[in-house]
Symmetry: C2
Subunit: 324 residues, 2 copies
Protein backbone atom coordinates (compact mmCIF):
# COMPACT_ATOMS: atom_id res chain seq x y z
CA UNK A 1 0.00 0.00 0.00
CA UNK A 2 1.50 3.35 -1.02
CA UNK A 3 1.79 6.16 1.51
CA UNK A 4 -0.80 8.77 0.58
CA UNK A 5 0.61 12.30 0.56
CA UNK A 6 -1.67 15.27 0.02
CA UNK A 7 -0.18 18.61 -0.85
CA UNK A 8 -2.44 21.64 -0.67
CA UNK A 9 -0.43 23.29 -3.45
CA UNK A 10 1.21 22.10 -6.64
CA UNK A 11 4.76 20.98 -6.06
CA UNK A 12 7.60 22.01 -8.35
CA UNK A 13 8.81 19.30 -10.75
CA UNK A 14 12.08 18.93 -8.79
CA UNK A 15 10.09 18.01 -5.68
CA UNK A 16 7.89 15.51 -7.53
CA UNK A 17 10.96 13.83 -8.98
CA UNK A 18 12.35 13.23 -5.50
CA UNK A 19 9.27 11.18 -4.64
CA UNK A 20 9.45 8.93 -7.72
CA UNK A 21 11.65 6.30 -6.16
CA UNK A 22 9.22 5.69 -3.28
CA UNK A 23 5.97 3.83 -2.83
CA UNK A 24 3.81 6.92 -2.49
CA UNK A 25 0.60 8.28 -3.97
CA UNK A 26 0.86 12.05 -4.31
CA UNK A 27 -2.27 14.18 -4.60
CA UNK A 28 -1.97 17.89 -5.23
CA UNK A 29 -5.30 19.51 -4.34
CA UNK A 30 -5.27 22.26 -7.02
CA UNK A 31 -5.13 19.50 -9.68
CA UNK A 32 -8.15 17.63 -8.34
CA UNK A 33 -11.89 17.91 -8.82
CA UNK A 34 -14.14 18.21 -5.76
CA UNK A 35 -14.85 14.49 -5.37
CA UNK A 36 -11.25 13.45 -5.82
CA UNK A 37 -10.28 16.14 -3.29
CA UNK A 38 -12.54 14.63 -0.63
CA UNK A 39 -11.32 11.12 -1.40
CA UNK A 40 -7.66 12.18 -1.25
CA UNK A 41 -8.11 13.87 2.12
CA UNK A 42 -9.90 10.84 3.52
CA UNK A 43 -6.90 8.64 2.71
CA UNK A 44 -4.09 11.15 3.48
CA UNK A 45 -1.38 9.91 5.82
CA UNK A 46 0.83 12.95 5.21
CA UNK A 47 -0.43 16.48 4.70
CA UNK A 48 1.91 19.08 3.23
CA UNK A 49 0.57 22.61 3.51
CA UNK A 50 1.27 26.23 4.23
CA UNK A 51 -1.89 25.76 6.28
CA UNK A 52 -2.42 29.50 6.09
CA UNK A 53 -4.92 31.13 3.74
CA UNK A 54 -4.71 28.44 1.07
CA UNK A 55 -6.12 25.64 3.22
CA UNK A 56 -8.33 25.71 6.28
CA UNK A 57 -6.82 22.96 8.40
CA UNK A 58 -9.22 23.44 11.31
CA UNK A 59 -12.31 22.69 9.25
CA UNK A 60 -10.68 19.85 7.28
CA UNK A 61 -8.95 17.91 10.03
CA UNK A 62 -12.02 15.77 10.77
CA UNK A 63 -12.13 14.61 7.13
CA UNK A 64 -8.60 13.15 7.47
CA UNK A 65 -8.96 10.06 9.69
CA UNK A 66 -5.70 8.49 8.39
CA UNK A 67 -3.54 11.58 9.01
CA UNK A 68 -0.28 10.88 10.85
CA UNK A 69 2.01 13.71 9.75
CA UNK A 70 1.65 17.41 8.98
CA UNK A 71 4.63 18.93 7.18
CA UNK A 72 4.44 22.70 6.74
CA UNK A 73 6.08 24.58 3.87
CA UNK A 74 6.54 27.52 6.23
CA UNK A 75 9.32 27.77 8.78
CA UNK A 76 6.98 29.13 11.44
CA UNK A 77 3.98 27.11 12.67
CA UNK A 78 2.43 29.76 14.90
CA UNK A 79 -0.65 29.92 12.66
CA UNK A 80 -1.59 26.22 13.07
CA UNK A 81 -4.87 25.45 14.90
CA UNK A 82 -3.09 23.35 17.54
CA UNK A 83 -6.12 22.69 19.77
CA UNK A 84 -7.99 20.85 17.02
CA UNK A 85 -5.05 18.74 15.80
CA UNK A 86 -5.27 15.25 17.41
CA UNK A 87 -2.27 14.51 19.59
CA UNK A 88 -1.29 11.38 17.64
CA UNK A 89 -0.42 13.54 14.62
CA UNK A 90 3.22 14.61 14.39
CA UNK A 91 3.90 18.10 13.10
CA UNK A 92 7.13 19.04 11.29
CA UNK A 93 8.04 22.59 10.33
CA UNK A 94 10.25 23.74 7.48
CA UNK A 95 12.69 25.59 9.77
CA UNK A 96 15.90 26.38 7.95
CA UNK A 97 14.41 26.48 4.47
CA UNK A 98 14.49 30.26 4.35
CA UNK A 99 17.48 31.11 6.51
CA UNK A 100 19.85 32.31 3.79
CA UNK A 101 17.47 34.70 1.98
CA UNK A 102 15.86 35.90 5.20
CA UNK A 103 19.25 36.64 6.81
CA UNK A 104 20.30 38.45 3.65
CA UNK A 105 17.12 40.54 3.86
CA UNK A 106 17.82 41.25 7.55
CA UNK A 107 21.26 42.56 6.63
CA UNK A 108 19.82 44.64 3.80
CA UNK A 109 17.47 46.32 6.29
CA UNK A 110 20.30 46.75 8.82
CA UNK A 111 22.58 48.47 6.31
CA UNK A 112 19.79 50.54 4.75
CA UNK A 113 18.87 51.88 8.18
CA UNK A 114 22.48 52.24 9.34
CA UNK A 115 23.21 54.55 6.40
CA UNK A 116 19.78 56.19 6.31
CA UNK A 117 19.18 55.00 2.75
CA UNK A 118 15.44 54.61 3.28
CA UNK A 119 15.30 58.40 2.84
CA UNK A 120 17.10 60.20 0.04
CA UNK A 121 18.80 63.30 1.49
CA UNK A 122 21.20 64.98 -0.93
CA UNK A 123 22.45 67.80 1.26
CA UNK A 124 25.52 66.60 3.16
CA UNK A 125 24.99 68.78 6.23
CA UNK A 126 21.37 67.73 6.50
CA UNK A 127 22.23 64.07 5.87
CA UNK A 128 24.94 64.01 8.54
CA UNK A 129 23.10 66.15 11.08
CA UNK A 130 19.70 64.52 10.74
CA UNK A 131 18.80 61.88 13.32
CA UNK A 132 16.98 59.85 10.67
CA UNK A 133 19.80 59.51 8.14
CA UNK A 134 23.11 60.20 9.92
CA UNK A 135 25.34 57.21 9.18
CA UNK A 136 26.07 54.57 11.81
CA UNK A 137 29.21 52.51 11.61
CA UNK A 138 28.54 48.79 11.25
CA UNK A 139 32.01 47.29 11.16
CA UNK A 140 33.10 45.96 14.57
CA UNK A 141 29.78 46.94 16.11
CA UNK A 142 27.90 44.80 18.62
CA UNK A 143 25.16 42.67 17.10
CA UNK A 144 22.50 41.13 19.32
CA UNK A 145 20.46 38.36 17.72
CA UNK A 146 17.24 37.20 19.38
CA UNK A 147 16.91 33.58 18.34
CA UNK A 148 19.89 31.42 17.42
CA UNK A 149 18.09 29.06 15.04
CA UNK A 150 19.11 28.78 11.42
CA UNK A 151 18.11 32.36 10.50
CA UNK A 152 19.76 33.88 13.57
CA UNK A 153 22.88 31.82 12.94
CA UNK A 154 23.16 33.06 9.35
CA UNK A 155 22.60 36.67 10.47
CA UNK A 156 25.43 36.18 12.98
CA UNK A 157 27.65 34.60 10.34
CA UNK A 158 27.23 37.48 7.89
CA UNK A 159 27.94 39.94 10.71
CA UNK A 160 31.03 38.11 11.91
CA UNK A 161 32.58 37.29 8.53
CA UNK A 162 31.47 40.33 6.57
CA UNK A 163 31.57 43.07 9.20
CA UNK A 164 33.58 41.66 12.14
CA UNK A 165 30.68 42.20 14.52
CA UNK A 166 30.79 41.11 18.14
CA UNK A 167 27.86 38.72 18.33
CA UNK A 168 25.59 38.23 21.32
CA UNK A 169 22.83 35.64 21.06
CA UNK A 170 19.67 35.06 23.03
CA UNK A 171 18.07 31.64 23.13
CA UNK A 172 15.91 29.74 25.59
CA UNK A 173 18.68 27.96 27.45
CA UNK A 174 21.66 30.23 26.79
CA UNK A 175 23.53 27.33 25.14
CA UNK A 176 26.56 28.30 23.02
CA UNK A 177 26.08 28.50 19.24
CA UNK A 178 28.60 28.87 16.40
CA UNK A 179 29.36 32.47 15.31
CA UNK A 180 28.16 33.87 18.64
CA UNK A 181 30.74 35.32 21.03
CA UNK A 182 28.28 35.22 23.92
CA UNK A 183 24.88 33.61 24.39
CA UNK A 184 22.40 34.27 27.19
CA UNK A 185 19.03 32.80 28.12
CA UNK A 186 15.92 34.82 27.32
CA UNK A 187 15.50 36.04 30.89
CA UNK A 188 18.71 38.06 30.54
CA UNK A 189 17.51 39.96 27.48
CA UNK A 190 17.04 43.21 29.38
CA UNK A 191 20.63 43.10 30.64
CA UNK A 192 22.21 42.76 27.20
CA UNK A 193 19.95 45.06 25.18
CA UNK A 194 21.79 48.26 26.21
CA UNK A 195 25.06 46.86 24.80
CA UNK A 196 23.78 46.33 21.26
CA UNK A 197 24.38 48.67 18.33
CA UNK A 198 22.26 46.39 16.15
CA UNK A 199 19.45 44.06 17.22
CA UNK A 200 18.09 41.40 14.88
CA UNK A 201 14.94 39.53 15.88
CA UNK A 202 14.79 36.04 14.36
CA UNK A 203 12.48 34.28 16.79
CA UNK A 204 9.56 32.01 16.01
CA UNK A 205 6.25 33.11 17.51
CA UNK A 206 5.21 30.90 20.38
CA UNK A 207 3.93 31.30 23.90
CA UNK A 208 7.45 32.14 25.13
CA UNK A 209 8.25 34.80 22.54
CA UNK A 210 4.89 36.54 22.07
CA UNK A 211 5.28 40.17 23.17
CA UNK A 212 8.84 39.53 24.37
CA UNK A 213 9.93 42.94 23.14
CA UNK A 214 7.78 45.62 24.74
CA UNK A 215 8.17 49.14 26.02
CA UNK A 216 10.70 48.20 28.71
CA UNK A 217 12.95 46.38 26.25
CA UNK A 218 12.66 49.10 23.59
CA UNK A 219 13.49 51.80 26.12
CA UNK A 220 16.56 49.82 27.17
CA UNK A 221 18.06 50.22 23.67
CA UNK A 222 21.30 52.15 23.29
CA UNK A 223 21.05 55.61 21.73
CA UNK A 224 21.13 55.19 17.95
CA UNK A 225 20.35 51.47 17.91
CA UNK A 226 19.22 49.74 14.71
CA UNK A 227 16.57 47.04 15.18
CA UNK A 228 15.21 44.68 12.53
CA UNK A 229 12.58 41.97 12.81
CA UNK A 230 12.51 39.02 10.41
CA UNK A 231 10.94 36.55 12.87
CA UNK A 232 7.28 37.24 13.56
CA UNK A 233 5.58 40.60 14.10
CA UNK A 234 3.94 39.68 17.38
CA UNK A 235 7.28 39.06 19.11
CA UNK A 236 7.23 42.87 19.37
CA UNK A 237 4.33 44.69 20.99
CA UNK A 238 2.93 46.91 18.27
CA UNK A 239 1.55 49.75 20.40
CA UNK A 240 4.71 49.87 22.51
CA UNK A 241 6.85 49.97 19.39
CA UNK A 242 4.83 52.82 17.93
CA UNK A 243 5.00 54.86 21.13
CA UNK A 244 8.73 54.38 21.65
CA UNK A 245 9.72 54.95 17.99
CA UNK A 246 7.61 58.11 17.83
CA UNK A 247 9.43 59.49 20.84
CA UNK A 248 12.95 58.14 20.27
CA UNK A 249 13.85 59.09 16.71
CA UNK A 250 17.39 57.88 17.37
CA UNK A 251 16.15 54.28 17.12
CA UNK A 252 15.67 52.98 13.58
CA UNK A 253 13.39 50.01 13.15
CA UNK A 254 12.90 47.78 10.12
CA UNK A 255 10.51 44.88 9.77
CA UNK A 256 9.49 42.32 7.18
CA UNK A 257 6.94 40.73 9.51
CA UNK A 258 3.71 42.21 10.81
CA UNK A 259 1.02 41.84 13.39
CA UNK A 260 -1.77 39.30 13.34
CA UNK A 261 -5.39 40.41 13.79
CA UNK A 262 -8.14 37.79 13.59
CA UNK A 263 -5.69 35.24 12.28
CA UNK A 264 -4.34 37.44 9.48
CA UNK A 265 -1.19 39.49 9.15
CA UNK A 266 -2.26 43.07 8.37
CA UNK A 267 -0.08 45.30 6.21
CA UNK A 268 0.01 48.20 6.89
CA UNK A 269 -0.68 47.60 10.58
CA UNK A 270 -3.30 49.31 12.71
CA UNK A 271 -0.97 51.84 14.34
CA UNK A 272 0.45 54.51 11.97
CA UNK A 273 3.95 53.00 12.26
CA UNK A 274 4.69 53.19 8.56
CA UNK A 275 4.38 56.98 8.65
CA UNK A 276 7.28 57.32 11.10
CA UNK A 277 10.55 58.45 9.50
CA UNK A 278 12.60 55.98 11.56
CA UNK A 279 10.54 53.00 10.37
CA UNK A 280 11.23 50.81 7.34
CA UNK A 281 8.87 48.06 6.22
CA UNK A 282 8.75 45.36 3.58
CA UNK A 283 5.61 43.27 2.98
CA UNK A 284 6.71 39.87 4.36
CA UNK A 285 8.66 38.99 1.25
CA UNK A 286 12.04 37.88 2.61
CA UNK A 287 11.12 34.21 2.45
CA UNK A 288 8.44 32.16 0.72
CA UNK A 289 6.78 35.03 -1.16
CA UNK A 290 9.63 34.83 -3.68
CA UNK A 291 9.01 32.04 -6.15
CA UNK A 292 12.53 30.57 -6.33
CA UNK A 293 12.85 30.63 -2.54
CA UNK A 294 9.44 28.99 -2.14
CA UNK A 295 10.39 26.25 -4.62
CA UNK A 296 13.54 25.49 -2.70
CA UNK A 297 11.49 25.37 0.50
CA UNK A 298 8.99 22.92 -1.03
CA UNK A 299 11.84 20.64 -2.09
CA UNK A 300 13.18 20.75 1.48
CA UNK A 301 9.74 19.90 2.84
CA UNK A 302 9.49 16.91 0.49
CA UNK A 303 12.96 15.75 1.56
CA UNK A 304 11.74 15.80 5.15
CA UNK A 305 8.64 13.80 4.26
CA UNK A 306 10.89 11.25 2.53
CA UNK A 307 12.72 10.78 5.84
CA UNK A 308 9.35 9.82 7.36
CA UNK A 309 8.60 7.44 4.48
CA UNK A 310 11.97 5.75 4.92
CA UNK A 311 11.27 5.23 8.59
CA UNK A 312 13.90 7.77 9.64
CA UNK A 313 13.33 10.63 12.05
CA UNK A 314 12.34 13.79 10.15
CA UNK A 315 13.84 17.13 11.15
CA UNK A 316 12.11 20.05 12.85
CA UNK A 317 9.58 18.18 14.95
CA UNK A 318 7.27 20.74 16.53
CA UNK A 319 6.75 20.56 20.27
CA UNK A 320 3.17 21.64 20.61
CA UNK A 321 3.73 22.53 24.25
CA UNK A 322 5.57 25.56 22.92
CA UNK A 323 2.34 26.78 21.39
CA UNK A 324 -0.50 25.71 23.67
CA UNK B 1 66.35 73.30 12.24
CA UNK B 2 62.88 71.80 12.70
CA UNK B 3 60.93 70.61 9.68
CA UNK B 4 58.15 73.13 9.10
CA UNK B 5 54.77 71.47 8.56
CA UNK B 6 51.76 73.53 7.60
CA UNK B 7 48.32 72.04 7.90
CA UNK B 8 45.46 73.91 6.28
CA UNK B 9 43.09 72.57 8.94
CA UNK B 10 43.33 71.96 12.67
CA UNK B 11 44.60 68.48 13.44
CA UNK B 12 42.98 66.30 16.06
CA UNK B 13 44.88 66.00 19.35
CA UNK B 14 45.81 62.37 18.56
CA UNK B 15 47.57 63.53 15.39
CA UNK B 16 49.44 66.35 17.15
CA UNK B 17 50.65 63.93 19.80
CA UNK B 18 52.25 61.74 17.17
CA UNK B 19 54.43 64.64 16.06
CA UNK B 20 55.69 65.48 19.57
CA UNK B 21 58.69 63.18 19.47
CA UNK B 22 60.07 64.80 16.31
CA UNK B 23 61.95 67.97 15.48
CA UNK B 24 59.08 69.68 13.73
CA UNK B 25 57.32 73.03 13.84
CA UNK B 26 53.62 72.54 13.19
CA UNK B 27 51.47 75.43 11.99
CA UNK B 28 47.74 74.98 11.63
CA UNK B 29 46.42 77.80 9.44
CA UNK B 30 43.01 78.26 11.15
CA UNK B 31 44.90 79.07 14.40
CA UNK B 32 47.05 81.78 12.81
CA UNK B 33 46.57 85.47 12.10
CA UNK B 34 47.15 86.77 8.59
CA UNK B 35 50.82 87.67 9.05
CA UNK B 36 51.73 84.42 10.77
CA UNK B 37 49.89 82.59 7.99
CA UNK B 38 52.09 84.18 5.31
CA UNK B 39 55.22 83.54 7.33
CA UNK B 40 54.30 79.86 7.92
CA UNK B 41 53.64 79.26 4.24
CA UNK B 42 56.93 80.88 3.26
CA UNK B 43 58.83 78.42 5.44
CA UNK B 44 56.67 75.31 4.85
CA UNK B 45 58.56 72.19 3.80
CA UNK B 46 55.49 69.95 4.17
CA UNK B 47 51.95 71.01 3.31
CA UNK B 48 49.06 68.92 4.62
CA UNK B 49 45.75 69.82 3.01
CA UNK B 50 42.49 68.64 1.56
CA UNK B 51 43.52 71.15 -1.09
CA UNK B 52 39.89 71.42 -2.10
CA UNK B 53 37.63 74.27 -1.08
CA UNK B 54 39.41 75.01 2.19
CA UNK B 55 42.72 76.04 0.57
CA UNK B 56 43.51 77.37 -2.87
CA UNK B 57 46.75 75.58 -3.66
CA UNK B 58 47.09 77.05 -7.15
CA UNK B 59 47.20 80.63 -5.91
CA UNK B 60 49.38 79.85 -2.87
CA UNK B 61 52.03 77.61 -4.38
CA UNK B 62 54.27 80.56 -5.33
CA UNK B 63 54.35 81.73 -1.71
CA UNK B 64 55.87 78.39 -0.64
CA UNK B 65 59.46 78.40 -1.92
CA UNK B 66 60.63 75.78 0.60
CA UNK B 67 57.86 73.27 -0.19
CA UNK B 68 59.08 69.71 -0.79
CA UNK B 69 56.07 67.55 0.12
CA UNK B 70 52.31 67.79 -0.29
CA UNK B 71 50.36 65.27 1.79
CA UNK B 72 46.61 65.23 1.11
CA UNK B 73 44.01 64.25 3.68
CA UNK B 74 41.87 62.93 0.84
CA UNK B 75 42.38 59.55 -0.79
CA UNK B 76 41.82 60.98 -4.28
CA UNK B 77 44.09 63.70 -5.69
CA UNK B 78 42.18 64.37 -8.91
CA UNK B 79 41.36 67.90 -7.75
CA UNK B 80 45.01 69.03 -7.38
CA UNK B 81 46.24 71.74 -9.77
CA UNK B 82 49.03 69.53 -11.13
CA UNK B 83 50.26 71.89 -13.86
CA UNK B 84 51.23 74.60 -11.34
CA UNK B 85 52.92 72.28 -8.82
CA UNK B 86 56.73 72.37 -9.40
CA UNK B 87 58.09 68.99 -10.38
CA UNK B 88 60.52 68.83 -7.45
CA UNK B 89 57.59 68.60 -5.01
CA UNK B 90 56.55 65.08 -4.05
CA UNK B 91 52.83 64.45 -3.64
CA UNK B 92 51.45 61.76 -1.34
CA UNK B 93 47.78 60.84 -1.16
CA UNK B 94 45.87 59.36 1.76
CA UNK B 95 44.77 56.26 -0.17
CA UNK B 96 43.49 53.56 2.17
CA UNK B 97 42.40 55.92 4.92
CA UNK B 98 38.74 55.56 4.04
CA UNK B 99 38.55 52.05 2.64
CA UNK B 100 36.65 50.41 5.49
CA UNK B 101 33.83 52.97 5.84
CA UNK B 102 33.58 53.55 2.09
CA UNK B 103 33.35 49.81 1.37
CA UNK B 104 30.73 49.51 4.09
CA UNK B 105 28.76 52.30 2.42
CA UNK B 106 29.13 50.60 -0.96
CA UNK B 107 27.63 47.43 0.50
CA UNK B 108 24.83 49.40 2.14
CA UNK B 109 23.91 50.83 -1.28
CA UNK B 110 24.24 47.40 -2.92
CA UNK B 111 21.88 45.74 -0.43
CA UNK B 112 19.44 48.67 -0.35
CA UNK B 113 19.12 48.50 -4.12
CA UNK B 114 19.13 44.69 -4.27
CA UNK B 115 16.09 44.59 -1.98
CA UNK B 116 14.46 47.77 -3.31
CA UNK B 117 14.59 49.41 0.11
CA UNK B 118 15.08 52.89 -1.32
CA UNK B 119 11.34 52.81 -2.01
CA UNK B 120 8.82 51.69 0.59
CA UNK B 121 6.28 49.40 -1.09
CA UNK B 122 3.99 47.61 1.37
CA UNK B 123 1.91 45.58 -1.06
CA UNK B 124 3.61 42.22 -1.60
CA UNK B 125 2.39 41.71 -5.15
CA UNK B 126 3.46 45.20 -6.17
CA UNK B 127 6.80 44.86 -4.36
CA UNK B 128 7.63 41.54 -6.01
CA UNK B 129 6.30 42.44 -9.45
CA UNK B 130 7.74 45.93 -9.67
CA UNK B 131 11.00 46.33 -11.59
CA UNK B 132 12.18 48.96 -9.12
CA UNK B 133 11.81 46.96 -5.90
CA UNK B 134 11.67 43.25 -6.78
CA UNK B 135 14.33 41.56 -4.66
CA UNK B 136 17.61 40.38 -6.14
CA UNK B 137 19.54 37.59 -4.52
CA UNK B 138 22.99 38.65 -3.36
CA UNK B 139 24.44 35.46 -1.90
CA UNK B 140 26.68 33.63 -4.38
CA UNK B 141 26.16 36.32 -7.01
CA UNK B 142 28.92 37.62 -9.27
CA UNK B 143 30.52 40.85 -8.06
CA UNK B 144 32.61 42.93 -10.44
CA UNK B 145 34.80 45.56 -8.79
CA UNK B 146 36.37 48.31 -10.90
CA UNK B 147 39.55 49.22 -9.07
CA UNK B 148 41.36 46.78 -6.80
CA UNK B 149 42.94 49.34 -4.48
CA UNK B 150 42.19 49.37 -0.77
CA UNK B 151 38.49 50.26 -1.18
CA UNK B 152 37.92 47.73 -3.96
CA UNK B 153 39.71 45.09 -1.94
CA UNK B 154 37.52 45.68 1.11
CA UNK B 155 34.37 45.60 -1.06
CA UNK B 156 35.56 42.26 -2.44
CA UNK B 157 36.35 40.96 1.05
CA UNK B 158 32.89 41.79 2.40
CA UNK B 159 31.35 40.14 -0.67
CA UNK B 160 33.45 37.01 -0.40
CA UNK B 161 33.28 36.51 3.36
CA UNK B 162 29.80 37.84 4.03
CA UNK B 163 27.92 36.79 0.92
CA UNK B 164 30.11 34.18 -0.84
CA UNK B 165 30.26 36.28 -4.01
CA UNK B 166 32.32 35.29 -7.02
CA UNK B 167 34.66 38.26 -7.37
CA UNK B 168 35.97 39.67 -10.63
CA UNK B 169 38.37 42.61 -10.46
CA UNK B 170 39.47 45.18 -13.01
CA UNK B 171 42.77 46.99 -12.63
CA UNK B 172 45.28 48.56 -14.99
CA UNK B 173 47.53 45.53 -15.41
CA UNK B 174 45.19 42.67 -14.60
CA UNK B 175 47.49 41.58 -11.77
CA UNK B 176 45.98 39.14 -9.22
CA UNK B 177 44.70 40.60 -5.94
CA UNK B 178 43.55 38.93 -2.72
CA UNK B 179 39.81 38.18 -2.47
CA UNK B 180 39.39 38.30 -6.26
CA UNK B 181 38.71 35.05 -8.11
CA UNK B 182 39.61 36.64 -11.45
CA UNK B 183 41.27 39.93 -12.39
CA UNK B 184 41.42 41.51 -15.86
CA UNK B 185 43.08 44.61 -17.25
CA UNK B 186 40.90 47.64 -17.94
CA UNK B 187 40.75 46.97 -21.68
CA UNK B 188 38.73 43.81 -21.00
CA UNK B 189 36.02 45.63 -19.04
CA UNK B 190 33.44 45.29 -21.80
CA UNK B 191 33.92 41.52 -21.92
CA UNK B 192 33.30 40.95 -18.22
CA UNK B 193 30.49 43.49 -17.62
CA UNK B 194 27.73 41.14 -18.92
CA UNK B 195 28.70 38.53 -16.32
CA UNK B 196 28.19 40.75 -13.29
CA UNK B 197 25.12 40.75 -11.04
CA UNK B 198 26.67 43.57 -9.02
CA UNK B 199 29.19 46.18 -10.17
CA UNK B 200 31.07 48.35 -7.68
CA UNK B 201 33.13 51.26 -8.97
CA UNK B 202 36.04 52.11 -6.66
CA UNK B 203 38.42 53.83 -9.07
CA UNK B 204 40.36 57.03 -8.56
CA UNK B 205 39.72 59.71 -11.16
CA UNK B 206 42.67 60.13 -13.49
CA UNK B 207 43.26 60.38 -17.20
CA UNK B 208 42.84 56.61 -17.57
CA UNK B 209 39.56 56.31 -15.69
CA UNK B 210 37.71 59.49 -16.68
CA UNK B 211 34.56 58.51 -18.58
CA UNK B 212 35.54 54.84 -18.49
CA UNK B 213 31.91 53.83 -17.99
CA UNK B 214 29.79 55.23 -20.79
CA UNK B 215 26.77 54.20 -22.83
CA UNK B 216 28.46 51.14 -24.34
CA UNK B 217 29.51 49.80 -20.94
CA UNK B 218 26.14 50.55 -19.32
CA UNK B 219 24.26 48.85 -22.14
CA UNK B 220 26.48 45.78 -21.71
CA UNK B 221 25.12 45.25 -18.18
CA UNK B 222 23.18 42.09 -17.41
CA UNK B 223 19.41 42.44 -16.99
CA UNK B 224 18.74 43.42 -13.37
CA UNK B 225 22.29 44.51 -12.55
CA UNK B 226 23.03 46.58 -9.44
CA UNK B 227 25.74 49.24 -9.91
CA UNK B 228 27.24 51.46 -7.21
CA UNK B 229 29.91 54.13 -7.48
CA UNK B 230 32.06 55.11 -4.49
CA UNK B 231 35.11 56.16 -6.53
CA UNK B 232 34.63 59.43 -8.36
CA UNK B 233 31.56 60.64 -10.28
CA UNK B 234 33.38 61.40 -13.51
CA UNK B 235 34.48 57.78 -13.98
CA UNK B 236 30.90 57.44 -15.27
CA UNK B 237 29.59 59.63 -18.08
CA UNK B 238 26.68 61.50 -16.58
CA UNK B 239 24.56 62.01 -19.70
CA UNK B 240 25.05 58.40 -20.78
CA UNK B 241 24.08 57.18 -17.33
CA UNK B 242 20.93 59.26 -17.33
CA UNK B 243 19.88 58.07 -20.78
CA UNK B 244 20.51 54.39 -20.08
CA UNK B 245 18.93 54.38 -16.59
CA UNK B 246 15.84 56.16 -17.89
CA UNK B 247 15.38 53.49 -20.52
CA UNK B 248 16.53 50.40 -18.62
CA UNK B 249 14.62 50.39 -15.36
CA UNK B 250 15.97 46.93 -14.64
CA UNK B 251 19.35 48.49 -13.78
CA UNK B 252 19.58 50.02 -10.30
CA UNK B 253 22.31 52.58 -9.74
CA UNK B 254 23.58 54.05 -6.48
CA UNK B 255 26.24 56.70 -6.06
CA UNK B 256 27.95 58.58 -3.27
CA UNK B 257 30.14 60.54 -5.69
CA UNK B 258 29.06 63.16 -8.21
CA UNK B 259 30.13 65.08 -11.25
CA UNK B 260 32.53 68.00 -11.27
CA UNK B 261 31.59 71.25 -13.01
CA UNK B 262 34.02 74.18 -12.88
CA UNK B 263 36.12 72.39 -10.29
CA UNK B 264 33.22 71.65 -7.95
CA UNK B 265 31.16 68.55 -7.32
CA UNK B 266 27.52 69.47 -7.87
CA UNK B 267 24.78 67.76 -5.88
CA UNK B 268 22.21 67.26 -7.28
CA UNK B 269 23.81 66.96 -10.70
CA UNK B 270 22.77 68.77 -13.88
CA UNK B 271 20.81 65.87 -15.41
CA UNK B 272 17.60 64.92 -13.55
CA UNK B 273 19.14 61.62 -12.42
CA UNK B 274 17.91 61.89 -8.83
CA UNK B 275 14.30 61.84 -10.05
CA UNK B 276 14.69 58.37 -11.57
CA UNK B 277 13.16 55.56 -9.48
CA UNK B 278 16.13 53.25 -10.14
CA UNK B 279 18.63 55.80 -8.80
CA UNK B 280 19.88 56.14 -5.23
CA UNK B 281 22.19 58.94 -4.13
CA UNK B 282 24.02 60.01 -0.98
CA UNK B 283 25.84 63.36 -0.77
CA UNK B 284 29.49 62.21 -0.80
CA UNK B 285 29.45 61.26 2.86
CA UNK B 286 30.93 57.76 2.88
CA UNK B 287 34.40 58.99 3.74
CA UNK B 288 35.85 62.19 5.15
CA UNK B 289 32.57 64.04 5.63
CA UNK B 290 32.06 62.01 8.80
CA UNK B 291 34.03 63.50 11.67
CA UNK B 292 35.40 60.29 13.22
CA UNK B 293 36.43 58.97 9.82
CA UNK B 294 38.09 62.28 8.93
CA UNK B 295 40.00 62.24 12.25
CA UNK B 296 41.32 58.77 11.57
CA UNK B 297 42.32 59.89 8.07
CA UNK B 298 44.21 62.90 9.47
CA UNK B 299 46.10 60.66 11.86
CA UNK B 300 47.04 58.41 8.91
CA UNK B 301 48.22 61.42 6.95
CA UNK B 302 50.40 62.55 9.86
CA UNK B 303 51.85 59.04 10.16
CA UNK B 304 52.83 59.25 6.50
CA UNK B 305 54.47 62.65 7.00
CA UNK B 306 56.42 61.16 9.92
CA UNK B 307 57.85 58.58 7.50
CA UNK B 308 59.17 61.48 5.43
CA UNK B 309 60.63 63.19 8.51
CA UNK B 310 62.40 59.98 9.52
CA UNK B 311 63.93 59.73 6.06
CA UNK B 312 61.82 56.70 5.16
CA UNK B 313 59.76 56.36 2.00
CA UNK B 314 56.19 57.51 2.62
CA UNK B 315 53.28 55.53 1.21
CA UNK B 316 50.96 56.47 -1.64
CA UNK B 317 53.34 58.50 -3.77
CA UNK B 318 51.32 60.07 -6.57
CA UNK B 319 52.56 59.59 -10.11
CA UNK B 320 51.59 62.85 -11.73
CA UNK B 321 51.78 61.25 -15.16
CA UNK B 322 48.50 59.56 -14.25
CA UNK B 323 46.88 62.98 -14.09
CA UNK B 324 48.55 65.20 -16.70
Amino acid sequence: MPTVIVSTIELPERARELLRGYDVALYELPRLGKEEWTSALSRAEVLMCWCGREFDLASSINSMPSLRVIQTFSAGVDHLPFPVIPSNIEIYSNAGAYSVPVAEHAWAMILTLAKGLHRQVLNAREYLGNEITSPRRVIESTLLVLGTGSIGLEIARIGKEGFRTHNIGINRSGRPVEYFDEVYPTNQLLDVLPRADIVAIALPLNKYTKGLVGERELRALKHGAIVVNVGRGDVVKEEDLYEVLKERLDIRFGTDVWWIYDGHEEIPPRTPLTALPNFLGTPHIAGGAQRDIAEYAMVRAVENVIMYIRGETPMNRVDRNDYV
